[in-house]
């Protein structure tokens, strides 16, 4: 049995399980929050107008919950309890409902987060091309800066893998020196890695291209 003893002890999480928990525990001592009273819930005027404009687009106002959460997150920096309460007040929904929606989607943050977002794609194609190491480099480069770095599921840009979305701007293919440049560009408020932006890249299919396209050649066809 001695060889079993040499194994490291099983790591356990706080709740005693070998796997991390799914959700935060609910505080059962608090009464459930109702639809906020407009008289007691101040909502910034521009946020209210923007949410109401979204609601007007749909046959059912509830459809605007995701666009409204996007707006509130942009306004408050994250989906804070206050942000959720404001959306709930304008949309006439309960905060619990909106929290259930916000917690479902990867792009909503229910915890405070740094100002800038870097999503490094770590899905199949990108990881075949070295995304895991890139992600680690990105984390190192962002340390001490107001930047959140996340490994993200397929961002739909495998043609430029390994790639990242920096505040929504797709850049790639990235090498291990790029994380430093990305952080520099973010800090300087410049467009990020302009020579690697997807928006300026030509299509890979030769018949899709035109002579007067002033863009970046597709990956692997730089010489053509």
């Amino acid at each position: 049995m001695s060889s079993i003893d040499r194994r490291p002890p099983v790591r356990r999480y706080e709740h005693g399980s070998r796997v991390p928990g799914w959700d935060e525990a609910v505080d059962l001592t608090k009464p459930p929050a109702t639809v906020p009273d407009p008289a007691l819930t101040p909502v910034p005027e521009e946020l209210r107008a923007a949410i109401e404009a979204e609601m007007a687009k749909y046959p059912d106002r509830k459809s605007a919950s995701i666009p409204a959460l996007h707006l509130a997150q942009r306004h408050h920096g994250w989906c804070s309890p206050e942000a959720i309460k404001q959306v709930a007040c304008v949309m006439r929904l309960t905060p619990a409902y909106l929290t259930s929606v916000a917690s479902f989607y990867d792009m909503f943050y229910l915890q405070p987060k740094p100002k800038h977002d870097v999503y490094v794609c770590t899905n199949i194609t990108c990881s075949l091309l070295g995304a895991d190491e890139l992600y680690e480099r990105m984390c190192e480069a962002a340390e001490g800066h107001d930047i959140s770095v996340r490994g993200f599921e397929c961002l739909g840009a495998c043609d430029i893998g390994p790639m990242a979305s920096v505040d929504g701007e797709y850049v790639g293919p990235l090498n291990l020196d790029d994380p430093k440049l990305i952080v520099e560009d973010i800090e300087a408020g410049r467009p990020v890695l302009e020579h690697k932006q997807l928006r300026r890249r030509a299509v890979a299919d030769a018949k899709g291209r035109v002579d007067d396209f002033d863009g970046i050649a597709p990956v692997g066809q730089e010489g053509n």
Binding site: P59, I66, F104, C154, A204, F213
Partner: protein, 434 residues
């Protein structure tokens, strides 16, 4: 081979109406508005076009399922392109958004729909902004809104941004998400064509499918059906990525050989490397091997080979990668994206993920691969949607096709972890006989 969607798509300004019209844009709409709506559905049926999103269902048939007459009906364009390896709709929407908008207007006219939505994934911010601008432009030009070009048809088109959830690409999950809920799939039937968005009949189509509609109207369904093979008509946008030298989006005629795509168009793996396996239709499709490269790239041939054409996303893996590494990435993705509604998928994806971690930690034995395979077969067909199946199918195929390599990986991991050496069953039996 004709280029129908990607023909000179890089032309600057193609995302605006003046350039799009100069290239013949919106002429299909004018032609369609002169036709009776049923005739358009008939053209779509005749074209034989199959859905470009993954399931490959015949578009004309789907449109004909919608009840006729005036009622609250909806069209939802599925632009939640999240299948790993897929990025074709992104290029189409970014460079030629009016192709999609024109297709949507024609389809709604044919089916008597007055409300349409484009559900685009939240990460595609650039493409969503371009679509927003294109919709505003089309409204100003009279292509959207009331009484389009004097035809009496009216249409309101809304671009709806998602917020990062793979499951919202599943049509009923998408509808729930569009209604402002968590994107949980629904029980089918009723199918969306009968009871979909806001409980009204709803047509859900992929970007590329709708984007092909103007071409079909211009060419005529019968002529379109001459392109490609009998069961897979037309051209297809494919996204090729991974270990190839020229990754990217290409438009191909369905039925060309897969080798022609991977080696001819994309240059194959780096010199000195060979194709170890390839996903023919996104990460959800069972993997194929190098010997399958001569298969014709169409819906029926790939289905017969035990895989699928799916979204047309080819991921090539060369021999520098281990099968275990690929499997682990696939599984991690589906475990993360399972919505949690159905037990076999929620538990199955997460169990598989933990199980692979056990293999990596050297706590597993080769016998466990049988359990792994059996769990996959218990997920398939047992959930409301196919997300669980989408993990189980490639994982099952990797276990079946790379069993020796996985067993060697398990042994190697045990050695690394200094675990007890494995004993052959015969030795144990011999031992107990004493």
């Amino acid at each position: 081979m004709p280029h129908l969607l990607f023909d000179r798509i890089d032309e600057p300004g193609l995302n605006t109406i003046p350039v799009y019209e100069r290239r013949g844009g919106y002429s299909a709409l004018r032609k369609a508005l002169q036709m009776p709506p049923e005739a358009i559905v008939e053209e779509l049926s005749q074209s034989g076009i199959r859905g470009r999103g993954g399931a490959g269902f015949k578009m004309g048939q789907k449109a004909s399922f919608l009840p006729k007459g005036e009622m609250a009906k909806y069209l939802t364009c599925n632009a939640d392109e999240s299948e790993p390896g897929t990025f074709k709709d992104r290029e189409l929407m970014q460079k030629s958004p009016h192709t999609l908008i024109e297709g949507i207007i024609i389809t709604t006219y044919a089916t008597g729909i007055h409300h349409a939505f484009i559900y685009i994934r939240g990460e595609y911010q650039l493409q969503a902004d371009i679509l927003d601008a294109a919709v505003a432009e089309a409204e100003a030009a009279g292509y959207l809104g009331e009484n389009i070009l004097g035809s009496g048809h009216s249409l309101k088109l809304v671009v709806h941004r998602g917020a990062g959830a793979y499951i919202c690409g599943e049509e009923t999950g998408l509808l729930d998400s569009l209604e402002g809920k968590r994107g949980n799939p629904r029980l089918k039937p009723p199918f969306p064509a009968i009871e979909g968005l806001y409980a009204g009949p709803t047509l859900v189509n992929n970007v590329e499918t709708l984007g092909t509609v103007p071409t079909i109207i211009n060419m005529g369904g019968a002529d379109y059906a001459k392109i490609g093979t009998e069961g897979s008509t037309g051209t297809k946008l494919i996204s090729v990525s991974g270990d190839v030298q020229r990754p990217g989006n290409y438009e191909i005629e369905l039925g060309i050989s897969s080798r022609e795509i991977i080696y001819g168009l994309c240059g194959g793996p780096k010199p000195g490397r060979t194709v170890k396996m390839w996903f023919p239709g996104g990460s959800s499709s069972p993997v194929l091997l190098e010997q399958d490269l001569d298969l014709s790239y169409d819906f029926d041939t790939l289905a017969k080979a035990g895989s699928m054409l799916g979204s047309g996303a080819i991921i090539v893996v060369d021999d520098s990668h281990s099968a275990f590494e690929v499997m682990q990435k696939v599984v991690k993705f589906y475990a993360h994206e399972s919505c949690g509604k159905c037990v076999p998928c929620r538990e199955g994806t997460n169990w598989t993920n933990k199980f692979l971690a056990r293999i990596e930690a050297g706590e597993s034995t080769p016998m466990d691969l049988d359990i792994l395979a059996s769990v996959q077969s218990q997920i398939i067909g047992n959930c409301l949607c196919v997300l669980g199946d989408a993990m189980a199918m490639p994982v099952g195929s990797i276990v079946a096709k790379f069993r020796d390599e996985l067993e060697a990986e398990i042994e190697a991991a045990r050695e690394r972890a200094n675990a007890l050496p494995l004993t052959d069953t015969e030795d144990l039996l011999a031992l107990s006989a004493h």
